[in-house]
Subunit: 315 residues, 2 copies
């Protein structure tokens, strides 16, 4: 049987989804066709989970959390729709990506439609500071995507650059969501900064975990196996490996990526302990999250949050 916390969370996520469906509803039939396609399956709503857990524990009203979560998910969804076009990703968690479903032109417009709906929500928020935080997040997400397409495809970035890209691309929206909770709670500036940093740490752990599950079976993780590799992306385990490789091995990695032959790449990563190094880095980051969380979360719900973080951030 689910615990009360789990049950509350499940109900919250269902309400977030319903709110997103209401916000995005359109009489234009092509738009609504894509809406129906998207909302026919459930998302992961990781950002909403974080918002609910942290928001509830610092006492933010339910309707504010619902508003924040649906807006944050809409920003995330807008960027996914366009990112999948850019990455030429045919699948998104086991289903065709929007552009595979509707064609590139309609997917491009649909992404724009979601953006306007998102900003319409932001405009109707009572709190202008939160709108500002989230608009800045959207801007940083786009800059991050620019950096990624400029730097990463079929070319190994430095570890430093990769971490910068993760922070801009994945972590920023977690940070924005957590900072927004702090604004709702009237936290002072140093606590807002700490929440923003917590979001970064969370996003970092989340991305490292996502990098790892690229090498696992789809049926377990929901992410198509070798999705990143097939898009020519160097992720953490491979960058670590590349750094340690001989010149000959480096060349081999490029060739295997182009030929889309991944088993030898996996062998090389194992040889240089790339998976283990990624796990260690991820776990360090999870521990940092838990430590920082202790500043905000009441002791009686800390165990649950800790468990949640470990469950969510570990494949």
């Amino acid at each position: 049987m689910p615990s009360i916390e789990e049950q509350n969370l499940t109900e919250f996520l269902a309400e977030v989804k319903l709110k997103m469906e209401n916000i995005t509803f359109s009489k234009q039939k092509d738009i609504q066709k894509i809406n129906d396609f998207i909302f026919s399956s459930d998302g992961k709503y990781v950002r909403s989970k974080i918002i609910f857990l942290y928001g509830q524990s610092v006492g933010i009203e339910y309707h504010k959390l619902l508003e924040l979560a649906s807006t944050t998910e809409l920003i995330h969804l807008s960027t996914l729709v366009h990112d999948d076009i850019i990455d030429e990703a045919p699948l998104r968690r086991g289903k065709p990506s929007v552009f595979k479903f509707s064609g590139i032109k309609k997917a491009l417009l649909y992404g724009d439609y979601l953006y306007t709906k998102t900003f319409s929500c932001l405009n109707s928020l009572e709190n202008k500071d939160i709108a500002t935080v989230l608009i800045n997040c959207a801007e940083k997400l786009i800059e991050g995507e620019f950096n990624q397409i400029s730097a990463m495809t079929y070319q190994a970035p430095s570890l430093e650059n990769y971490i910068k890209i993760i922070k801009a691309k994945t972590a920023v929206l977690f940070s924005g969501a957590l900072k927004s909770i702090g604004i709702h709670a009237n936290f002072k500036d140093e606590d807002l900064a700490l929440l923003y940093k917590l979001g970064h740490e969370f996003g970092y752990a989340f991305q490292l975990n996502d990098d790892l599950i690229d090498f696992f079976n789809e049926s377990v993780t929901g992410k198509a196996k070798y999705k990143d590799l097939s898009e020519g992306k160097f992720t953490y385990p491979l960058i670590i490996t590349f750094k340690k490789s001989t010149n000959q091995e480096e060349e081999m990695i490029y060739k295997l990526l182009e030929k889309k032959e991944y088993s030898q790449i996996v062998e090389l990563i194992e040889k240089y302990n790339g998976f283990n190094a990624t796990r260690i880095e991820r776990d360090k980051s999870i521990n940092n999250c838990i430590e920082t969380t202790k500043n905000f979360i009441k002791l009686d719900s800390l165990d649950y949050v800790e468990q949640f973080l470990r469950d969510t951030l570990k494949a």
Copy 2:
């Protein structure tokens, strides 16, 4: 020598451009490269001209007009960047379109970047009602583009549908800009509605004129000759012609469009007086604009505005 009105307008447009450059400036070098490309030439800024003329005549402060004009132009620019990808339009007023300059992926992201910058401007407007009006415009523009790609390519729409598309695609931002001026001026609801209608009429005349210049020489109009036709678009002169054509001629039009042979299409349009019918419709609309304008513009500047409308809306 330019008149004082013309000189003031020229200065205003230069300031709008400068403000847009400042708003869109980015340290991300790919983004800034596209900014530099776009702002290396001057736009037409028709929306800003309207804002300046009507806004000044009803006494709105200069800085508010500048803010409104740059935001409106940014919305327009965002949609152009994505529309050119969708229409596969290689040229935009004699220059390569953004996606031809930067590639589709960066153009897609750049459009998103402009959207976020636009909404960031809207969020910092003092007046939430104006932000709401302009966000609704952006939404309608996107719905209009959806209707267009669904209905029009290589397929004759009914005149009724075409007018609906024009209203959604072109007229809506003129309406939004004019209504925003009315909000700044604290106009009562019925005057706001009249301004919104004026914008529609203006956009309608503007689009009909744009439809006509598709058949003229590029060096005169700045628009590539047969741009619309080459994108498989049926515009007003051709729709009028199509309606009057025999079944045999209808088939011929489809074939000629596909083969990109336009001289015979022009002959048919002339045979059925399609150009003339478009001019008459446009001029009727311009006269409507002038009549409605008399409700708002002080008599002493009415002559200038009237001349401006005729100059802007007649190729």
